[in-house]
Amino acid sequence: MLKAKKVSKAVIIGNKKLLHPTVDILHSIQCIHVEDFTEDDSFLRIGKPGEAASKASHKLVKLRSITNFLGIKPTHSDNLQNEDAILNELDAKLEQLDSTVNDLLDRKNVLGNELKNIDDSIFLLEPLSLLPLDLEFYKGYSAITVITGYVQGEISEIEQEIRSITANYELLSSPHDRRNVITLFVPVEHQQQVTDILEKYYFNDIHVPELKGNPGKIMSGMKNRKEDIQLELTSLEDEIADLKGKYMDFILASDEVLSITTEKAEAPLRFATSESTFIIDCWIADDKFHQVEETLETNFNGSVMISKLDAEKEEIESSTIPVEYDNPGLVKPLETIMDLYSRPLYKEIDPSVIIFFTFPLFYGLMLGDIGYGLVLFTLGMVGRAKIKTGGLRPLATLLVYCSITTTIFGVLFAEIFGFHVFGHHSIVAVLFGEHSALGGIFYNFHALPILDRLGKDDIPILLIVSALIGVVHLNLGFILGFRNEAVSHGIKTAVLEKLSWIVLQLGIAIFALAALGYIPVVGMTGGIVISVIGVVMLIAGEGGAAILELPSILSNTLSYTRLAAVGLSSVGIAYAINYIVTNLLFPEGGIFIILGIIVLLIGHTVNTVLGVVAPGLHALRLQYVEFFTKFYHGGGRKFNPFGYNRKYTEVK
């Protein structure tokens, strides 16, 4: 907790003949983070990949293209398949699958091309089908030019202009799609003049296909063929879906097996080798070291050794040490929030545990409603049940945490979907009658709410409480910053850069208390003196530019008033929905009651969605912008254990 898992630098050295067995073992125990070896002037060279590598990656490429064609997505699988069984049937099944898929792909392409050709031809034939000519009459003349295309404008006008050039012509036309399709037969010698006339009417050429017969008949034949092709394509899609259903488990499992084989076979590329030895440069968690040492000893009897270098003593740059979180299971989901920003450096505080408390706290304080809390709880639990793996699961868990605090604050604020729970405006008392047994209890209960967000009297208190939470949170940040600075740059820097802010705030607080008359007036002078000391320390630590940073302490603190403000806006929306429904729609009776219920459902659904998003973003922002900037650097490397998390297969 609060610190990354302790790791040490280690070296694994052994006889080169034992390289592949060693890789097998290291890969299966998933304990080391391998540092890639880069060749230098020394006699060490990077290792050669195993023979399995090229074959396996070849198969993998084939498999992935099949996966792509069948549209198979990674899923969660409960039944694990035996790796050996998969390997035994892999080659034969892959060949068979490959030829089936290629066959399907070919048929699909042929049909697709034919469909496209038909569509193109239909597009061309459609205007021609309106003219009373068979296709062979458009071509093959020596003394006559045939001009076919679209024109805009009156046909009679065009005809008149042509007639002024020659009486020796034939013009056929038909309206089509707000234009006219025409075909014009004129002697060759008049071609240029006629084209010039047609240009004025925005002439657009149509290419007559090399076919014979009546265009309408050809088109209807093509349309029939098109329907047939579409049917064939549908049955092809069914075949693909069948194939997908039949082979999905096999494909996912063999992808995994092949990935593991490739990864293992290519691992030597990351290691250093000499003529007869190999050296693996790696990081290992301190608590796993003995396990690895023993495993290597029992398997290789001293021919492969691991030895540890102390990361703390070695002067190693903190940012190069891989970081593995060390948090209890409950806090794990918050690591997603940390990674979203940046993983902590090895030597700095990992604040996951702190945001485990503050993130749901801020969220709950902002939303604070029993009704929304229970809805979010259900959503979170359903999410957890549906999503077994992947990046969304921690977020579902986080939603559950936040829903719990939301409900707790909902009780403190005594709110349910923006209605009062207790007191004279209690929704229960309204629904059941204030004199009924149940309604009476709620009507006469006045211990809650502790703070009433629905009335106006408690709102200043809520704002002040929010700002005070901000002061506490910010100072927690400064204290953590003090610790981080003390570790990385020494105690003097820590005092000047971080403690100075606390001194400054103390000065302001004393000044304010004195000004408000809570402590003797001399406190005002004292407060100013202390503040000045704080500022001087800060300038000594961070330089003159720090003066520009001074107002941030005020804006940061005021920024926490969003805890009250965002909450009030969501209360405001809920209140507005309820007011519209109960005061404006329900009293009208009849159809308006149904309308009211619809407004109520839609309104509160929208508000729940806003309720998840807005407090989530604002709670996140308070962590990232206000809190983290006080102490957090981030930029640590992920501890990436050498190995593979099997999802579909197991080794018997």
Binding site: L340, S342, K456, L568, R621, Y624
Partner: protein
């Protein structure tokens, strides 16, 4: 519009008038600061999405940078709340 000359107005009318002005002030505080946040965030958001397209892990930083001007509208909201409830 109802024409109220201050000399003839009853106390109730003047109070109602003041209430109306306060509501307009609160509305302006939220509305204008909202527009300001929007203008500031649109550029940052566009740039952040661009950066994310290049490197997806910049989401966290992009989100932070995008929501920084959000404080403007929160201040507006706080001012409005203070106007309405104090």
């Amino acid at each position: 519009m109802v024409d109220i000359s201050i000399a003839d107005a009853t106390v109730e009318q003047i109070l109602a008038n003041q209430k109306g002005l306060i509501a307009i002030g609160a509305g302006l505080a939220v509305g204008l600061s909202g527009i300001a946040s929007g203008i500031a965030e649109k550029d940052i958001g566009a740039a952040a999405v661009g950066a994310m397209a290049e490197r997806e892990e910049l989401f966290g930083k992009g989100l932070i940078l995008t929501v920084i001007p959000e404080t403007i509208v929160i201040f507006g909201l706080v001012v409005a709340i203070l106007l309405l409830f104090l």
